[in-house]
């Protein structure tokens, strides 16, 4: 079976065979194989179908840029489509499936698209599916989406774990090829904190495919020796299987480490991938260079691959590419491959060199055709031969493999991620990195350096220089003379071959051909950014790693300009695709966001609470009892019981802020619109906090517990925002004030006890006298509880309008205090009530929340106009709250609303219309901001913001809800539906 596997050589372990399947067929490879090398060794050249024309495709490269060999691996929730077989390490039991074919890879119905190709050129979709307009969304797009695309994502959840971490270093080296290894050794020996990252499983890069020797050591041995020394250095961390995918501000690099994507058995508890953010003082980009394909007819037929890839499969994986090989090259590198093939006993039919000049050596005994061009490759699912044009005549060679080398493009992606533009170099026939990459140094062939010896010296030299910058003396590492290396000559770019018959591909993954690019230029889309979008060249998952340079060259040729003038499209992260899992890290499932639970959560749960999520909080919404069929029955009962007896509600999630300092009172006086300077000791006050534009920001009560000690409560939703705001005021606006702030929201369990029996119940646990005289409305004091066993804070404040208190105790005591109150209240008919009942109680009393304080209201709109201090020298919002538009009488202002027919209802958000007017924007009078069923009134009631509202009590209006098609005759009224004289409150 493994007829193509060489019997000796390579970096594979023949004592460790690995079984895997491809499209259900059992195959075998060895440890050290990639999926691609194992497929090739098994004679499997056809590995996929192309995106658009469903052309048979093989393996083109041996690395991250692979556009063709995309397969789906894994099962169930671990299914990974579009996995590049060229970078996937083989493991025992790996399951791989080909993509974009039906019913099978060998016989694919979609290949009919290839015959239709004259009609499917660039811009085809734009031109064809224009009419009728609404067909695009309903018909064309779904059909096209179904036909196109490569692998299919699984809908099952990913069962694996991912994690994220930070790392800091003096020097990050990206790429562990010759330049990167030399740099790491130099910097590591000098004592720098070094991180060396490489996407491969072994450090070495091109050394692992190289037959040259360095100081008499084979190249792979040198790589292993350097890696061993690096591992022995405690200041060096080597990250293999780690792709550095982006360069960000502050010299921070993003990288993804594939921890367990190459193993048969997952180690429990360890992540499969790890996302690194690496903050580096300096970095070296030693990512090497990418070999270019050449654009000729049939350049996508399985059996055609880049010369460097063929050399990797031959030298590193011990796989022969075929029986008879032709090498088509524009530079000296093809000769190195020919020599290696010959040494391995593979026949080389010819080296076809596009250049006429020069006489490269080292190609072995193979025939050299100078000035020759491969015009067309022949074959269907496998290469059958090539047609060569030389000196005006054609020659056919029967070969089963063709290597091509169109020169090299330095891998400069990361150097361009922060906005720098690549620079075209005629000398290199390639784009080089931008000039100004502070903090990032390019080394080796990524910098356009040619030969192996030069790359080693370049990496070591740059590392020594950077070590000097970082204050360390360093000697560049030296490795001895290099024997048998290539010249590193760049050759001359060859963008096009004349007389092509077959399809010549530029972008293999998106099936963009030479003709498409020519068409784009003819139709006026010759600009590199336009051509990209018109033809989709470079827009596939490989992001044009192989195709962009050829597309630019062809556009330049068609427009008669230099590639420098065409320029490049923009390089952006990510260098290669990164899984959502890695980016998500641990933030999925129940860890997607934190859950905030009140200290009274368990108390509420044992009383049967139904919880509702509000922000991160889980709040008890209502407490259903046996026999109650709907939530409304429970809420109505709770509301009635609070007004009749008493209830206990968890209000722990209100924001709580401790304010201390000599100037705390003055500080509060400036952050609230109403006066706080003279708030007496032991008293609470309702406070209105404005924004600088005069709108209300938040409200709450603040109590004075000491001369320079206040306790502020905020609304639940704005707890964090108010804290940030107060810190801004204290630090940035008035740092001269002596004030200190601390958020204590989580430190206190706080509960409201409301209802006519509240005092009697509370007195059972409070040691001090809390009679109306001793503890009047708005009293706020620390109290002793349970005969001195505990101290708490007691506030006589009321959101419900009843005789009510809020008591705060240290969070850990919350549940036992609530238990004690429920026990003491049992004889008095106490019930637990949730935030739904709380909402009904406050609407009945006309109290506002953020339904009303919605960013559009000033104090006067809610009837708080007189609270805004006219005498204070300054407070947040003072300068703007009295602007003309904010004091206009026809502003939307607070009013009550109730239906004429008690059986009728309306909803929050419905609009108010004057009776008999049409529902138009001009006639809009305002809207319902809060609504609820009031057991006290016996109908739905609402609070509304209505034009001239307070002057219109008693006016019959219409509540109109256009979304639901509801129209409810109603009447405007006082917003206080219960106890307008506040008799219960002061009871």
């Amino acid at each position: 079976m493994n007829r193509l596997r060489l019997s000796t050589g390579g970096l594979i372990d023949r004592s460790r065979p690995l079984s895997f399947t491809f499209d259900g067929r059992k195959m075998q490879g060895f440890a050290g194989d990639t999926l691609a090398s194992a497929l090739l060794a098994n004679g499997q050249r056809l590995v996929g179908r192309s995106f658009k024309y469903h052309r048979p495709r093989g393996i083109l490269t041996a690395g991250a840029a692979e556009p063709n060999a995309l397969v789906t691996i894994g099962r169930d929730g671990r299914t990974e489509p579009n996995t590049r077989a060229t970078v996937q390490e083989l493991y025992d039991g790996l399951v791989a499936r080909s993509q974009n074919r039906w019913p099978s890879l060998d016989f694919d119905i979609g290949a009919v698209n290839g015959m239709l190709s004259p009609f499917l050129g660039a811009g085809f979709y734009y031109k064809t599916f224009m009419w009728p307009a609404d067909f695009w969304e309903k018909v064309y797009e779904p059909v096209i989406r179904k036909a196109a695309g490569l692998g299919r994502a699984t809908r099952e959840a990913d069962p694996d774990g991912y994690e994220k971490c930070w790392a800091h270093c003096d020097l990050l080296i990206i790429g562990a090829g010759p330049a990167g290894l030399a740099a790491a050794l130099t910097a590591g020996r000098a004592g720098l904190r070094v991180i060396l990252a490489d996407e491969g499983a072994l450090p070495g890069g091109s050394l692992l495919s190289e037959t040259a020797t360095i100081g008499d050591r084979p190249a792979p041995q040198l790589a292993a020796d350097i890696a061993a020394e690096l591992h022995s250095l405690p200041n060096v961390r080597v990250l293999v299987r780690t792709t550095v995918f982006g360069w960000y501000d502050g010299n921070v690099f993003g990288a993804v480490e594939r921890v367990q994507k190459h193993v048969a058995e997952l180690r429990a508890g360890a992540p499969v991938e790890r996302l690194w953010r690496i903050a580096a003082t300096q970095a070296i980009l030693a990512t090497g260079s990418e070999e270019r394909p050449i654009v000729f007819g049939g350049n996508d037929i399985p059996g055609v691959m880049t010369a460097g890839a063929m050399r990797t499969y031959l030298n590193r994986h011990a796989v022969a590419p075929g029986k008879s090989v032709a090498v088509f090259t524009t530079n000296d590198s093809g000769y190195r491959l020919a020599a290696d093939l010959e040494a391995a006993g593979v026949g080389v039919a010819a080296i076809i060199d596009s250049r006429r000049e020069g006489s490269p050596v080292g190609g072995g005994s193979a025939r050299v055709i100078k000035g020759g061009l491969v015009r067309d490759a022949k074959g269907g699912k496998a290469l059958a031969g090539v047609t060569i044009a030389v000196d005006g005549s054609n020659e056919t060679l029967d070969v089963d493999a063709l290597a091509m080398s169109g020169g090299f493009s330095p891998v400069i992606h990361l150097a361009c991620h922060r906005g720098g533009r690549p620079i075209w170099s005629d000398a290199h026939g390639a784009f080089l990195a931008p000039q100004d990459t502070e903090g990032l140094t390019l080394a080796g062939s990524a910098a356009g350096v040619g030969s192996l010896s030069a790359c080693l010296a370049d990496g070591a030299g740059h590392a020594a220089r950077l070590a000097g910058l970082l204050g360390r003396a360093a000697q560049p590492a030296v490795f001895g003379p290099v024997a048998g290396e290539g010249t590193g000559d760049a050759g001359k770019p060859l963008w096009s071959v004349p007389g092509i018959r077959g399809k010549a591909f530029v972008d293999f993954q998106n099936d963009v051909g030479l003709k498409d690019l020519k068409l784009a230029v003819r139709e006026g889309y010759g600009h590199v950014e336009l051509a990209k979008r018109y033809t989709t060249n470079g827009m596939a998952t490989d992001q044009g790693k192989l195709s962009n340079i050829n597309a630019i060259g062809l556009l330049a040729e068609a427009r008669g300009v230099s590639p420098a003038e065409v320029g490049t499209t923009t390089f952006r992260p990510f260098y290669t695709p990164v899984s959502f899992g890695a980016l998500t890290g641990a933030s999925h499932g129940k860890h997607f966001q934190p859950v905030r639970k009140s200290p009274l959560h368990d108390w509420a749960a044992k009383h049967g609470a139904t919880f509702v999520e509000t922000g991160l909080w889980y709040r008890s919404a209502w407490f259903p009892r046996a026999g109650e069929k709907t939530w409304r029955e429970s809420v109505d009962r709770e509301v009635r019981n609070v007004r009749l007896n008493a209830g206990l509600c968890d209000v722990s999630m209100l924001g709580k802020i401790e304010i201390h300092g000599r100037d705390a009172a003055e500080f509060l006086n400036r952050v609230y619109a109403n006066a706080f300077l003279k708030l007496p000791l032991g008293r609470a006050r309702y406070g209105l906090m404005l924004r600088e534009d005069g709108m209300i920001y938040d409200d709450g009560t603040t109590s004075r517990l000491g001369e320079g000690h206040f306790f502020m409560t905020t609304t639940t939703a704005y707890a964090a925002g108010v804290m940030n705001h107060l810190e801004f005021c204290a630090q940035a606006l008035w740092p001269d004030l002596d004030v200190r702030l601390a958020s204590v929201t989580d430190q206190w369990a706080q509960m409201a006890i409301a209802g006519p029996k509240a005092r009697t119940i509370l007195q059972a646990i409070v040691d001090e006298d809390i009679s109306g005289e001793a503890f009047p409305f708005l009293a706020a004091r620390e109290v002793s509880l349970f005969g001195g066993a505990l101290r708490g804070r007691l506030f006589r404040i009321s959101f419900s309008g009843e005789l009510a208190y809020e008591i705060a105790v240290p969070a850990g005591f919350g549940e036992s205090v609530a238990d004690a109150l429920m026990e003491a209240g049992e004889a008095h008919g106490i019930c637990a009530y949730g935030i739904e009942a709380l909402g009904v109680l406050r609407i009945e009393k006309g109290h506002v929340t953020h339904n009303e304080i919605n960013g559009t209201v000033v104090p006067a709109d809610l009837g708080f106009g007189k609270m805004v201090s006219p005498t204070k020298a300054d407070f947040i919002g003072k300068a703007m709250v009295h602007r003309e538009g904010l004091t206009a009488p026809d502003r939307l202002r607070l009013v009550g609303v109730k239906p004429l027919d008690p059986a009728a209802t309306f909803r929050t958000g419905a609009h108010i219309l004057a009776k008999g007017t049409e529902a138009t924007l001009e006639n809009d009078q305002g809207y319902v901001s809060s609504s609820a069923f009031s057991p006290h009134v016996g109908s739905t009631i609402g609070l509304a913001l209505v034009r001239n509202g307070p002057e219109r009590h008693g006016e019959e209006i219409v509540v109109w809800n256009g979304l639901m098609g509801e129209t409810t005759p109603a009447v405007l009224c006082d917003p206080v539906f219960v106890d307008p004289a506040n008799e219960k409150l002061h009871a």
Binding site: V252, P735, A873
Partner: protein, 90 residues
């Protein structure tokens, strides 16, 4: 993805720990007049180049900072406590 803010209290920390408020403007006096207040509350320059902003180290020391950065290059050129130089304790 990431970048680092040199907090004067905590050192270089990832920007995700911070909250940006916007331009570091001087708050006008209460009697500065409507024009000055309109400018302070509503009008913002959108410069290409150097910019000074209030940043809050929300998930760190909780101090408000004035961060100087370049909107074109993203270079952070400095960060100081907002109270510095205003008679407060930074």
């Amino acid at each position: 993805m990431a970048s680092l803010i040199p907090c004067p209290h905590c050192g270089r920390r990832p920007k995700e720990e911070f909250t940006i408020r916007g331009a570091a403007l001087e708050r006008p006096g209460p009697d500065a007049g409507q024009a000055a207040w309109m400018d302070y509350v509503y009008l913002r320059d959108n410069p290409r180049g150097a910019y000074r902003e209030y940043w809050h180290h929300t998930s760190g020391c909780r101090r408000w900072l004035v961060v100087s950065r370049n909107t074109a290059t993203h270079d952070v050129t400095g960060a100081e406590d907002a109270a510095a130089g205003k008679g407060g304790k930074a």
